[in-house]
Each structure stands twice: as structure tokens, then as C-alpha cells.
């Protein structure tokens, strides 16, 4: 009676797992809302160390943002293949999505290292603390997403995924798209709007 993935009717017609993921993402909006508000309050408050405009490398971050957005496309292809029960293509696109995500995280690691060398540490200024916290939280979300994608590939190979395969792929897809959309907001507010 509890597992709609196993064919029981639900009152809304949407499965429990998918609706559960939507609810979770609703909650995540407020989490990023709080972090973004903190950053917006503190982004101009630099008592020591570099200012935002002195360290941001917009072309570099634009490229890594583009890579992340493309991963949403490959995620859609993975969900589509999963709905067609095409295991080979599902695995392929999930792996590509994870690789694109990893490229983005790699870019973020590089960026953090570069900023640190230019004198922006976590404790340097309010700008530093709030910048690393906001983008770090986003990076952790992408990393968790990559772990989920790769685990899914592994589980699909053993074909021991509980519930409907396409359902699980779609659920992780929802999470992935959400993380991408949040990045669009962060990129705009943090990098593109001058202080």
C-alpha cells in the first residue's frame, strides 16, 4: 500500500517519490534563499582582502556555467532513454551528465584555489565568508548529485534498483535540474551584477 512505484494508486496521480522530491526541492529553495540573502547583504563589505570585481574571472566562470547547463540537457536525454527502457543509453547519458557536473566542480575547485592565492580566504572578510559559503553549498549539492548519478549507473548495471527504474532516474533528474537552476541565479547575482 505504501509504494506507489509498485503499482498502487495515489490520490494525486503522481508517485510518492516524485512528489517527495518536489517537496524537498521546495524546502531547498528556502535554504538557498537564506544563503543568497546573506551573500547579497555582505557582498560589498570588504574590510581587508580583494573586492569581488578584483578577483572574478567572468569568462572562465561563464564557460563552467555553460558546461553545467549542458549537463541538464544530457540529463533530459538520460530520463528519455530510461522511459524507453534503453539501459545502454540511460547509462551513457547518466555518465556524461556526471562528467559534465564533475567538470563544473573541478572548475570551482580551481577558482577557489585561484581566489585563495589572490588573498581571499574564508575568514578574510564578510564577502569571503559569504561567497565561499554560498558557492560551496552549491558545489556540495552538485557533488552529491554526481555521487547519486554514478551510484545509479552502478545500480542499473546490477539491475537491482528497487521500484521503477525510469522513476528513479527522473527523480534524480529533478534534483539535478534544480541544482542547475540555482546556479543560474547564483551566477547572475554573484558574478554578473556589479557591487
Amino acid at each position: 500500500m505504501t509504494d506507489t512505484a509498485q503499482g498502487h494508486a495515489s490520490s494525486t496521480g503522481i508517485s510518492n517519490v516524485k512528489l517527495g522530491m518536489w517537496a524537498f526541492l521546495g524546502s531547498e529553495c528556502l535554504l538557498f534563499g537564506g544563503l543568497i540573502s546573506t551573500y547579497m547583504l555582505y557582498r560589498g563589505r570588504v574590510t581587508g582582502g580583494p573586492r569581488p570585481s578584483q578577483i572574478f574571472d567572468i569568462p572562465f566562470t561563464s564557460v563552467s556555467s555553460f558546461v553545467l547547463l549542458m549537463s541538464s540537457l544530457t540529463m533530459v536525454l538520460a530520463v528519455s532513454a530510461a522511459h524507453k527502457d534503453d539501459d545502454r543509453k540511460t547509462n551513457l547519458w547518466l555518465t556524461v551528465t556526471a562528467l559534465l557536473g564533475a567538470t563544473f566542480v573541478g572548475g570551482q575547485v580551481y577558482e577557489f584555489t585561484a581566489f585563495y592565492k589572490e588573498g581571499l580566504g574564508f575568514s578574510t572578510s564578510l564577502f569571503g565568508s559569504s561567497f565561499y559559503t554560498l558557492t560551496g553549498f552549491h558545489g556540495v549539492h552538485v557533488t552529491v548529485g554526481i555521487i547519486m548519478l554514478m551510484s545509479l549507473v552502478g545500480i542499473l548495471k546490477r539491475s537491482s534498483v528497487p521500484g521503477k527504474k525510469a522513476e528513479v532516474v527522473e527523480m534524480i533528474g529533478l534534483y539535478w535540474h534544480f541544482v542547475d537552476i540555482v546556479w543560474i541565479i547564483i551566477f547572475t547575482l554573484v558574478y554578473l551584477i556589479p557591487v
Binding site: M1, T2, D3, T4, Q6, S10, S11, T12, I14, N16, L19, G20, A23, F24, G26, S27, E28, C29, L30, L31, G33, G34, L35, T38, L41, Y42, R45, T47, F122, S123, S125, L126, G128, S129, S130, T133, S151, I155, S160, P162, G163
Partner: protein, 661 residues
């Protein structure tokens, strides 16, 4: 009402797991401690939530008594200033996060699936995880008492006072990280109950046919869903500042101390509705049953609850009137605060009119419900005085505020919870609580709470500040407004209150020893949770009910006489039960017990413990969490068909599965 003996029903199937999932075999015990520790049954988890909450209620109560002992006489010597700070911080934290919230979660877990005609919640393992995370988070919070002192910054933990400079012990770290864990528990619980209510209602139960308690719980879960992440952010900022050198609340670096206050109260004000709305739901169930009338204006009660849920997001800054927000903000938040009194007033009117013209039956549950209406109204009215900013500025940080929120939280939330105890005890444990002791319980609590919190209005208006660990005779004042007199009365009252609660605990013990079983439908109740045995079977209903009316159980028992237009009883609860048992579903697959929820939850305090002491321990915690997460993901929540064996009645197997108490 006669107690009828029914033959033990045949349970369709039981689980004998043979297959290995993840890394461990499924737990199978249906008896003993394992049947509790690895359970995913929403009813067992509801009881466990309740027991945990009661345990923390006693701890929080002892803390309160120590506070009142300290303040009973001038120059109190019971606690020193430092310990006093820890005491009021942990008293509030315990009562809010570890008593009222888990108790409401317990009621919600137990009764929401029953009220909507479901056999369990949407995510049974997540449900178990939520409980264990709460328990471990609560224990973690209180560990600080033994490891250098508990948190001492007040339950709102205002920055920068909560920074390492002013609060050097690890107490605030334990507090912030412990609440993080409890927050995860609330968040998973909220997602679970929202999906349960949205997706698992019995056929025919539209949203506007849902019992009012389920409605109020749903509103609460939405509040939690959106409020918890905000406190999560605030707690992260605080932890990062204390443990990793971030500057968020460092005024020297240009930080704005109001950032914490805003984040905290954006969470904190919805939180107060999280505390009160479950009790509103409980009394909205109790009042109609004991007035023998339907709830007056059901849609109004539903929508006023939802309105409180919306407007509750727009009033937070009334906690900050004294912080210099500027005249526009103050005016706006004054108006919204006055506005939120309207839907609350609507509820009070609906409850009063439910009783109006009804045949009132003054059981203990009913007395507590009426107590809530009266005492919550007192607290609500003093709340409206806080909406008037000039008056609030005068009252800020005085005992007047303490009086206000104890009237709404004790007079409101706690009396509602006790009403729920007396009303639903026969449903959960199959036995009636003693009504005579219940009466003592009620009157001692009501007298005690008025003696304790009533005088605080006077103390506060005379200017006695909150959180002051001593007061002196020299400044106590004269005559009617003498602080010494009213402080003593408040302290005596707190012990009367404690005796009242002791009466409840004695009542529980006596009831547990009493062999007499409760009748099937002791209160002639109205909603679906009463349409099953006491206590309910593991699968709740032999047949998933089809719902045609609001208060469907009542409408199955009673039909309107076409001539006189009065309700006439056409069937008894026993007949309805017997019919269900005749048509029992043959194959019911219940979610199977699991090791993973408790293992995953255990990893969390290990991580947080490591954040305070050694990051190596955090790594171990992380490995536990990861290991459990994979085990969880690889295990399907219901054991597959091959694991089910149809049992033959009389072999003893059916006993294992049906032994639910």
C-alpha cells in the same frame, strides 16, 4: 457500552525474509526490543515519539522548577549566574524542540494515516529515520551538560552574543549542531506527512473531507518544510563562525547583527504556529465529539488554519521592534501581527459555537479542550498588545513576554496535547485513562499554570527583566506590586503545576496495571481512526474504507431521519468492525522493518561530535552515513513477493504478526 470479544482475525501474510539486500539481511523480529528499534510502523514510531517527548518534557520541567526555585526569594542561591543562563536556554530549547514538536510529531504519526484511511505513511523508513535523528539530536544537545556546560545564549541565541568571545564553552556548538540534527528529523517528517496526506487518502476522501486534525498537521508540515531550511542556514552560519573562523556576526568586520535575528525569526515565528496548530487540531476533534455536534464551520476552521500558515510568514519582525528597524517596518509588522489575530479569533468563535447548544460531556479530554480555549485566549490577547509597537517596546525583555508565551504555549499547546492524551489513550493503548485522576490532573495543572504565569504579567509590567538571575529586596517595590510576593506565588504555582503533571504520570501507571480493556468506540467518535480495533492492527484497516462524508465514521453509524430531521443510530461501531472483518483484504503487504534508518541517524551525531572535537571522528560518521545510505537505497521498502509466505491460521504464525501493542 459493552466490550465485545472478537476472535483474533487471521492476518493475511507475514514476512520471512530470505533474500539479502544491501549488505545486511532484513531484521525479522516481531517481538522484543528489535520489533521497536527496527520498526517502520507509523504507530510504533508515534508511541516512541510520544515517549521521547515525555522524557524531555520531564527534563525541561525540572529545569523550569530550578529556575523558579532560584527566583522564589531575593538573592537566590540555587544556581549561579552561568548555570542560570544555561538553565533557561536549555529549558526553552528542550520544551520547544524536544517536547512540543516531537509530541505533535507523535500524534501526527499515529493518527494522520488512521484518519485518512491509510495503512502507513508514504515513506515508512524515512519516518523511522526521523524519529531516531530526533532522539540522537536531543541526546547530543543535552550531552553539553556533561562536556563543559550547556548552551547559554537563550533559545534565540542572538549573535554576536553567541560567538566564541561571549560564549566560550562548547555549549553553543552542541546546541547549533544538535538542532541541525533535529531539523533534519523535522524536515524528513514534514516531507513524509505532506506526501502521505496528498497521496494516500482513502478513496473518496477529498481534501475538504479530511478530519480537521489532519488538516492542521498538514499546515504545520508545510510551515516546517519552509521554515526549517532558514534555521538551517542560520545554524550553519553560526557553526562556521565558531568552528571555521567565518566572519558572519563579527561586528568588527562590518557584520550586521540583525542578520541572525531576521533569519532566526523568519524561522521562529512560523515555528510558534508549528507548536500551536497541532493542539488546535486536537481540540477541534475533541470538542465536536464531546459536544455531540459537528464542528461548527468546518471550512472556516480549515481556511483560518491555512491563513495562519500564510500570514505567519509575514509577522516575524514583531520580535525585533526594539532593535531599531525603522518606522515603516515597525508599522507594517504591527499591522500584520494584528491581522493574524483574526484567523485565530475565527477558530475561537468556531469552537465556542461548536459547544453552543450541544450536549456537553465533561470528560477530562473535554475539560482540557475548554481549558485551551480560555487560556489560549488570555495569551492571545496579551499577544495582540505586543502588536502595538509602542507598548511592545515597553514590554520587550520583561516577564510580561514570558507570561504571554507561556499562556499560549502551556495554556494552548500543552493543554491541547493533554486533551489528546485523554481522548486517544484508549485508541493507542486499548485502555481508558482514569477520569478521576484526570480531573485532579486537569485542575492542578490549570490552577498551577495560572498561579505561575498570571503573576508574571504584573512582574513584567513592573519592569522585572527576563533572564535576570537574581532580584534584590531593595528594588522589589511596595504593596500590590511587590515583586517578592508575586515571584513567590509564581514559584509556588510552578510546583502545583508539577504535581498536576505527576498526577498524569501516576494515571498512566495505574492505567497500565488496570486489566480492564477500553470499549471499541468509547466516546462515540466521528472520524476514521475509531473505525478499527483498540489498538489498531498492524495494517490499520482490514478493508481500506471508502469515504462519502466529512466525519465518515459518524455517518456510518448515524443516518438522518427523513421525518424529524434528527440523526438516528442505525449501526454500532461493533457491527461496522464485524463487517470489515468479514470482508478483510486477503493480501496486505506492509513495509518491512529495516536496520538502515537507525544506522543512518546514528551517523549524524558522530559527524557533529567530530566537528567539535576531532575531524577524524567526523570522517567515521560520514562513512557510517554513506554505508547506511547505500544499504537503504539498495533495499526495497516492502520485501518482495518471494519473501512473503501465506500463513495458515492456527500455526502460531498469525500471532506473531497480529501481536501489536
Amino acid at each position: 457500552m459493552a466490550i465485545i470479544e472478537r476472535p483474533a482475525p487471521t492476518v493475511p501474510a507475514i514476512v520471512t525474509p530470505t533474500t539479502t539486500y544491501g549488505s545486511l539481511k532484513r531484521p525479522v523480529s516481531a517481538t522484543g526490543w528489535r520489533s521497536w528499534v527496527f520498526t517502520v510502523d507509523h504507530k510504533k514510531l508515534g508511541i516512541m515519539y510520544g515517549a521521547t517527548a515525555m522524557f524531555f518534557f520531564i527534563i525541561g520541567g525540572v529545569e523550569a522548577l530550578l529556575i523558579r526555585l532560584q527566583l522564589a526569594a531575593p538573592n537566590g542561591k540555587v544556581l549561579n549566574a552561568d548555570l542560570y543562563n544555561q538553565m533557561f536556554t536549555m529549558h526553552a530549547t528542550t520544551m520547544v524542540f524536544l517536547f512540543v514538536m516531537p509530541m505533535a510529531a507523535g500524534f501526527a504519526n499515529y493518527f494522520v494515516p488512521l484518519q485518512i484511511g491509510a495503512r502507513d505513511v508514504a515513506f515508512p523508513r524515512l519516518n523511522a529515520f526521523g524519529f531516531w535523528a530526533l532522539l540522537f539530536g536531543g541526546i547530543f544537545l543535552n550531552l553539553a551538560w556533561f562536556l563543559g556546560g550547556a548552551a547559554d545564549g537563550g533559545w534565540f541565541m542572538y549573535a554576536p552574543n553567541s560567538g566564541p568571545v561571549f560564549s566560550p564553552s562548547n555549549g553553543v556548538d552542541f546546541w547549533a549542531l544538535g538542532l541541525q540534527i533535529a531539523g533534519i528529523a523535522s524536515l524528513t517528517g514534514a516531507i513524509n506527512l505532506i506526501i502521505t496526506v496528498l497521496n494516500m487518502r482513502a478513496p473518496g476522501m477529498s481534501l475538504m473531507k479530511m478530519p480537521i486534525f489532519t488538516w492542521m498537521i498538514t499546515v504545520v508540515q508545510f510551515l516546517l518544510l519552509f521554515a526549517i531550511p532558514v534555521i538551517t542556514v542560520a545554524l550553519f552560519l553560526l557553526s562556521f563562525q565558531r568552528n571555521f573562523g567565518a566572519r558572519f556576526f563579527d561586528v568588527a568586520a562590518g557584520a550586521d547583527p540583525l542578520l541572525w535575528q531576521h533569519l532566526f525569526w523568519i524561522f521562529g515565528h512560523p515555528e510558534v504556529y508549528v507548536l500551536i496548530l497541532p493542539s488546535f487540531g486536537i481540540v477541534s476533534e475533541v470538542l465536536p465529539v464531546f459536544s455531540r455536534k459537528p464542528l461548527f464551520g468546518y471550512p472556516f476552521v480549515v481556511f483560518s488554519g491555512a491563513a495562519i500558515g500564510f500570514v505567519g510568514w509575514g509577522v516575524w519582525a514583531h520580535h525585533m521592534f526594539a532593535s531599531g528597524l525603522g518606522p515603516v517596518s515597525v508599522a507594517v509588522f504591527s499591522l500584520t501581527t494584528m491581522a493574524i489575530a483574526v484567523p485565530t479569533g475565527v477558530k475561537i468563535i468556531n469552537w465556542t459555537l461548536t459547544m453552543w447548544g450541544g450536549k456537553l460531556w465533561f470528560t477530562t479530554a473535554m475539560k482540557f479542550a475548554i481549558g485551551l480555549i480560555v487560556l489560549f485566549t488570555v495569551g492571545g490577547l496579551s499577544g495582540v498588545t505586543h502588536a502595538v509597537a509602542p507598548s511592545d517596546t515597553q514590554q520587550t525583555d520583561t516577564y510580561y513576554i514570558v507570561a504571554h508565551f507561556h499562556y499560549v504555549l502551556f495554556g494552548g499547546a500543552v493543554l491541547g496535547i493533554f486533551s489528546g492524551f485523554y481522548y486517544w489513550w484508549p485508541k493507542v493503548f486499548g485502555k481508558m485513562l482514569n477520569e478521576k485522576l484526570g480531573s485532579w490532573n486537569f485542575w492542578l495543572m490549570v490552577i498551577g499554570l495560572n498561579l505561575t504565569f498570571g503573576p508574571m504579567h504584573i512582574l513584567g509590567l513592573q519592569g522585572q527583566p527576563r533572564r535576570m538571575y537574581q532580584w534584590t529586596e531593595a528594588r522589589a517595590g511596595e504593596g500590590f506590586f511587590n515583586l517578592a510576593f508575586w515571584n513567590l506565588i509564581a514559584s509556588i504555582g510552578s510546583f502545583v503545576l508539577a504535581v498536576g503533571i505527576l498526577m498524569f504520570l501516576i494515571n498512566v501507571l495505574i492505567t497500565a496495571r488496570n486489566p480492564q480493556k477500553a470499549p471499541l468506540d468509547p466516546w462515540n467518535a466521528r472520524s476514521l481512526e475509531w473505525m478499527t480495533t483498540n489498538p489498531p492492527k498492524e495494517h490499520n484497516f482490514d478493508v481500506v474504507p471508502t469515504v462519502h462524508h466529512l466525519d465518515d465514521f459518524f455517518h456510518q453509524k448515524y443516518e438522518e431521519d427523513p421525518v424529524t430531521h434528527t440523526m438516528k443510530q442505525v449501526r454500532t461501531a461493533e457491527e461496522i468492525m464485524a463487517e470489515q472483518e468479514r470482508n478483510a483484504d486477503k493480501h496486505i503487504h506492509m513495509p518491512s522493518p529495516s536496520y538502515w534508518p537507525i544506522v543512518l541517524a546514528f551517523g549524524l551525531p558522530v559527524i557533529t561530535f567530530g566537528l567539535i572535537y576531532s575531524h577524524l571522528i567526523s570522517v567515521i560518521g560520514g562513512v557510517i552515513v554513506l554505508f547506511a545510505a547505500y544499504g537503504w537505497a539498495l533495499e526495497s521498502s516492502t520485501a518482495p513477493d518471494s519473501d512473503f509466505e501465506t500463513n495458515t491460521p492456527g500455526t502460531g504464525l498469525d500471532k506473531v504478526a497480529s501481536n501489536h501493542d
